[in-house]
Amino acid sequence: MSVGSPLAQVPGSGTAEAGTKHWWAQRVTAVALLILGGWFLYSIMQLDSFAHSALLSWAGRPFNSVTLLLLSLTLAWHSALGAQVVIEDYVHGSSISVVSLLLNRFAHVFLAIAAVVAIVRIALGGS
């Protein structure tokens, strides 16, 4: 039981505004992934070979590079949002939960940038 006023107990618990943005971003990325994920599975299915050279030329085609970039970034975003909710729900204790949330963000930003670097390198033909 706290002696703080109701308002005093609220600060630091997150705001409804940020929560709405999180919720909405999760839905927007979900709808985007329906299209991008569907494209990826279809496009992979059309490949005649999974040899390195075949994938290099597939990923290097401009349309595929752009779509792979969109897919990777949207996946990382959606995954970061979803994992955040899971951590918030199951990881308790303020320090461990803050550390988990930070690591979740760092890991997803790392994955997103690694994917971008890989796709751009393939697109520009340097290796």
């Binding site: 979900a30 299915m45 390195h52 994938l55 994992a83 994955l111 690694a114």
Partner: protein, 111 residues
Amino acid sequence: MTISILHRMTGVALSVGLIAFVLWLASIAIGAGAYEAVAGFMGTIIGRLLLLGWSFAFFFHLANGIRHLFWDVGIGFEMRQANASAWFVVVATVLMTAGYWFLLYDPRSLI
């Protein structure tokens, strides 16, 4: 209930799958040697089981995600509808997973 926790579990599995996806992309960029190491592992029994699991998780999360989007706009909240859509998700997941691997291995078999 079961379907709801499966949505989270498949989501977490797919987050782990994202690491594999980025590794795969990076290996293509790094070169043939790196790519063959990744592709070689994915060709083992463990690798194939992982790919099967991730594809199942993907299709489940996709089908149940669509169910959630319908709920978000207020459709399908009746108990009868929710039960029916849960079964639809299960059947759609199995069909999509099986169908995808079937097509991947032999895309011309249906034409």
